[in-house]
Subunit: 209 residues, 2 copies
DNA sequence: TTTTTTCTGTTGCATATGCAACAATTTTGT
DNA sequence: ACAAAATTGTTGCATATGCAACAGAAAAAA
């Protein structure tokens, strides 16, 4: 996703560091982690894709976040007293790096060069994450299903630099990601097709406006 | 808001730095900045409160973000090609610190102690901001008006450590913040009162469940 | 391969939410 | 202190959206 992110270099730096870090592999649909207790865990996607999921009391599934290579996630980014049980699931086979924020900042203040660079690296990763979250909020604050769909398609279109793109989700998951009802979304998609705004072949969408 | 944020110390560090920074004062309702061109601007609220606002083509106002002391905002946190015109307005008389991300990282790589500490500071500010954004996404992904209201009240309740708290918004703005219709929200609030979930005196809310 | 599960596409119906409009109240500005 | 502007509180009505259900297609598992 981020062309400037040198995964190998980043891992190498971590491995040579004084911090305890872990790299784990996950098969598709495996649970990567849960946000239950506050361990100040930070995770970085090294390969694959993972989703942050919430099920509410009505059984509604919501894809709170969708993370790809170089994205950061983890329960350190959530307040301690959250009422929700959130968990992260691998959408594809994925490789994830784990460490803790505490380890990074509190236990290792030796002013070593590594830390300086790591902190800087982390700042950039955090910045990227803030940008992603702001994009997500832009989507979610749209008032209608149509606006949400078009806003999301616009993002995907800009990312692919084309008017055509392939959805990273199934339509079922797309609805859970946009926090809307699936059948209502399908209905709106059909309207958008009928009105000539988009074309749709399987999970490939083309904007025609 | 953040008890660990030492505003005076932070400003002092900035002022003694090699970066060009600015501190400006704004009266209530004055425009603090707009997100139009990409200047990589980062802003920090030193006092007061500011709102990030979007008006859509239907005239709907949305309060995308609400920032208080120690919160960071700025168009560096938004992708370059956003379609929206966003602007930041002072909700109260406010003091805001301005600098640019580029200045910080590109032009001043002298490895001076200030930068190391500033970067670390910034990382913590970014982390706090990510937590805020995640809370906001939690709100916005709730499916019903009732759930949104109760989730937001729960946050305010936890912040005040009491079952009672005063809304930081007018009811008009609260609706714009939750991205829902004001009259529908008022209706739901009345239902919540009638069903004994909350009490309401002006802008003071008490949870009774 | 065959079987099982998940996903897609669609529709009728119920209802939560948005919209418009207005009076009463409160706040702001002069 | 007064006038103007904004907010609150409320309601009737329209409709966008959610819900339930199902058949066919596609994907995954056996």
């Amino acid at each position: 996703m981020d062309a400037n992110f040198d995964k190998e270099l980043f891992i190498e730096k971590f491995k040579n560091s004084c911090n305890r870090i872990q790299i784990k592999n996950f098969k598709k649909n495996e649970i990567v982690t849960t946000y239950i207790e506050k361990r100040n865990q930070i995770c970085i996607v090294l390969s694959g894709e993972v989703d942050l999921i919430r099920y509410d009391s009505n059984g509604n599934k919501t894809i709170i976040g969708h993370f790809v290579v170089s994205d950061v996630f983890g329960e350190v980014f959530y307040p301690a007293n959250t009422n929700n049980e959130l968990f992260v699931i691998a959408r594809k086979n994925s490789e994830v790096l784990f460490f803790t924020y505490d380890t990074l900042f509190n236990k290792c203040r030796r002013n070593c060069d590594f830390h300086k660079e790591l902190t800087s690296n982390l700042t950039e990763l955090f910045l990227d994450q803030i940008i992603n979250l702001n994009l997500r909020i832009e989507l979610l604050t749209k008032r209608t299903i149509r606006e949400k769909i078009l806003a999301y398609f616009d993002i995907l279109s800009k990312r692919s630099i084309r008017r055509s793109f392939t959805l990273p989700f199934s339509y079922t998951d797309l609805a859970d990601f946009l926090s809307i009802d699936r059948s209502a979304m399908m209905r709106e998609l059909k309207l958008l097709i009928d009105e000539g705004f988009i074309k749709k072949h399987g999970s490939k969408i083309t904007l025609t406006f």
